[in-house]
């Protein structure tokens, strides 16, 4: 294995190359662009044996990779923000069609007003499209999550979105380790689906469906995406065995020993949260960091298991769930903990929108405010 210093977008592109994808389709949007540029260069220079389709919109990106995946190709695309929103219709199609797809979403705020910097509104807005959503917090985790995403999507035929924060992760240089190609090849054999859109297989895809036959398709997706949590964790363990890389299961827990106050967040702010936890611990607060790695399926059972009776859960949302008065993580956490509401107190705040800086001291201050609310 080789350790290098590069950006999150570079790590993403290197992982896609290592995954030996057959086809890349992409449309440029800040801060995703350098992923597409690097992949176009790898393919043009023959470093990567794949085709590159320079499409004219994100709706077309998702239309192209969906058709390619139906034919049994391993594909990749990356987007951000408005681009993800523009894909929305085909995100539903891809998940409903049980297509194996991997996409990186470099999280960025959405308009209006325009803003180039990070928050999670783009991904959260796609919550109910049926995609699995992973959130990475380091360059190494971006690299490893892309590889893991292919393993997962090809095992359960549900598309996977790998999220990482725009600029904070996409453009920051961090050291990370590139896994040897033979190890990746062993972990991720060539994609060989049971059915392909092809005359040798026959059959049609996405037909008009009567009311009595439609629900089983949608209900099986709903059931299978809940099971995806176990499959993600199982494959993350296998990847750890092969590479030594481990970023946590569905949650990454920081300083769980004796913890009573849990600070829940996702993305790069969760890395900063570790410093906030250290400060709180120094002040005598039994705090722990709870970094959510899998936003979809939401790991409700694991959250219940992690939190001891008497725990306080402080939720830091980098998004709004409009109409609920809070963010999506708070809504999800409250729903997950409903049966334990007598013994666990929960509150949350929305912050860090549009790249608003979230230094540890600020997170500590917010944690204190939230603990005050729960008194």
């Amino acid at each position: 294995m080789k350790r290098i210093l590069d950006t999150g977008n570079a790590a993403c592109a290197l992982a896609v190359k290592a995954a030996k994808v057959d086809m890349v389709a992409a449309y440029p949007i800040t801060p995703q662009t350098s992923v597409a540029e690097k992949l176009a260069a790898y393919i043009a220079e023959g470093e990567m044996d794949a085709k590159y389709l320079p499409v004219e919109s994100e709706h077309s990106v998702m239309s192209a990779v969906s058709a390619a995946a139906a034919a049994g190709a391993r594909t990749f695309t990356a987007t951000s923000s408005q681009g993800l929103l523009y894909m929305h219709e085909i995100l539903h199609y891809a998940a409903g069609g049980r297509l194996s797809l991997v996409m990186a979403n470099v999280n960025r705020a959405i308009c209006a007003p325009w803003c180039l910097y990070v928050d999670h509104q783009d991904a959260v807005s796609q919550r109910d499209t049926g995609w699995i959503q992973l959130f990475a917090a380091t360059t190494q985790e971006i690299y490893d999550s892309v590889i893991l995403a292919y393993k997962v999507t090809e095992e359960i035929n549900i598309p996977v979105m790998v999220n990482y924060d725009g600029f904070l992760l996409s453009h920051s240089m961090m050291p990370f380790e590139i896994v040897d190609q033979e190890i990746i090849d062993g972990f991720l054999p060539p994609f060989s689906p049971a059915w392909r859109l092809h005359p040798q297989w026959g059959g049609t895809f996405g037909n008009v469906t009567p009311s009595d036959q439609y629900p089983p398709y949608r209900n099986s997706l709903a059931a299978d995406i809940v099971k995806a949590g176990e499959i993600i964790e199982k494959n993350a363990r296998e990847y750890q065995r092969l590479t030594g890389h481990w970023h946590g299961g569905l949650f990454d827990i920081y300083r769980p020993e004796g913890a009573e106050v849990f600070l829940l967040s996702m993305g790069s702010m969760a890395a900063e949260m570790e410093l906030a936890v250290d400060i709180l611990r120094e002040e005598g607060v039994p705090a722990a960091g709870l970094r959510l790695r899998v936003f979809r399926p939401f790991p409700a059972r694991e959250l219940c298991r992690i939190l001891p009776g008497g725990a306080r859960l402080l939720v830091f949302d980098r998004n709004h769930a409009f109409g609920t008065g809070s963010g999506a993580l708070l809504s999800e956490a409250k729903a997950a903990l409903f049966d334990r509401k007598d013994v666990i107190k929960v509150t949350g705040q929305v912050m860090g929108l549009g790249g608003e800086d979230l230094p540890a001291a600020y997170l500590v201050q917010k944690a204190r405010e939230m603990m005050g609310v729960l008194k």
Partner: protein
């Protein structure tokens, strides 16, 4: 050398039991197209009559694999599919001959919601055939106007007749300078068959648009689909031509009309049996309107005759 109808292969893309309306031009056209393309083909469809008539799952009236994807997706899905097949064949993960990829799309999916993606696929020169079966309206959803609906035609969203002219997408495609494109008519099946065979033999992006008179949409007898197709061509309302990399060739009978060797039939002969023009034909200014339509036909014939010289 031209093919005779009796020499066409037995292959039939449209199986008995199709839910298409009687006289459906999409079904007629697809049967001819299938004979030219053969069994090793994959069809991409977006919402349209051809999807509505496929039959409910698990049944399909089409004998080849179909991808039923979203309305604006034709260009990108056709492009993504054909490029993925290239990758898989080159890597040896699929063996044999690469199937022909084609999109079978109405005028809504071509002229309106899908135009951006189709234009992009043409510019990229993606290796598939885009077919537009142009029935000049959103017939599937109950005959609403589209960008292909002609001037004066009544639809459910132009109840007084359309006030603006259709756009000319074949001309737009001509200026994309793609390897091959053609217009075609159900009244000239051998011409259509030849054009599809030609498109199949050419690598890159191909575009074939087939005028598709729609009995319920245009309000004429279901037995007259081919007759209406013929009158459209003979009146100069629909022109037959083909082009390679922007080099235009007019096909007969359009060429004879453009060269002034034959005269178009009066356009009223084409319009009179179409209920969608009933208002126009009863209008006090009918003669004035018909004269304007015929002047436009002459202008377009002249334009195409001159364009063919480039």
């Amino acid at each position: 050398m031209s093919v005779k109808i009796k020499d066409m292969p037995d292959i039939d893309y449209v199986l008995p039991g199709s839910a298409a309306c009687a006289g459906c031009p999409s079904a007629i056209a697809l049967r001819i197209v299938g004979k030219a393309l053969g069994e090793n083909a994959i069809m991409v469809m977006t919402p349209s009559c051809a999807v509505a008539s496929i039959g409910l799952l698990p049944k399909s009236c089409y004998s080849i694999p179909v991808l039923n994807i979203c309305f604006a997706s034709a260009g990108a899905s056709g492009g993504g599919l054909t490029l993925a097949l290239d990758a898989l064949y080159e890597k040896g993960r699929l063996q044999g001959e690469k199937p022909t990829v084609f999109t079978w799309i109405g005028d809504g999916g071509t002229y309106d919601i899908g135009l951006q993606g189709i234009s992009a696929a043409a510019e990229r020169n993606d290796d598939f055939i885009h077919f537009c079966y142009n029935n000049e309206a959103y017939s599937n959803t109950g005959v609403q106007r589209s960008g292909a609906t002609p001037l004066h035609a009544v639809t459910t969203t132009t109840p007084l007749g359309k006030e603006v002219a259709r756009k000319n997408v074949p001309l737009l495609m001509l200026e994309h300078r793609i390897p091959y494109m053609a217009t075609a008519s159900l009244a000239y099946p051998l011409d259509l068959y030849r054009k599809v065979e030609k498109a199949k033999s050419v690598k890159g992006f191909k575009y074939i648009e087939i005028l598709s008179p729609c009995s319920p949409g245009w309000k004429f007898a279901a037995s007259d689909t081919v007759e209406l197709s013929k009158r459209a061509v003979k009146s100069g309302s629909w022109l037959l031509w083909e082009a390679e990399y922007g080099k235009l060739t007019l096909n007969n009978p359009t060429r004879l009309l453009a060269e002034g060797k034959t005269q178009p039939i009066p356009v009223e002969e084409y319009l009179k049996d179409q209920g969608r023009y009933a208002r126009l034909l009863k209008h006090p200014q009918k003669e004035e309107y018909l004269a304007a339509i015929e002047a436009e036909i002459r202008r377009e014939l002249t334009f195409m005759a001159d364009r063919a010289k480039l």
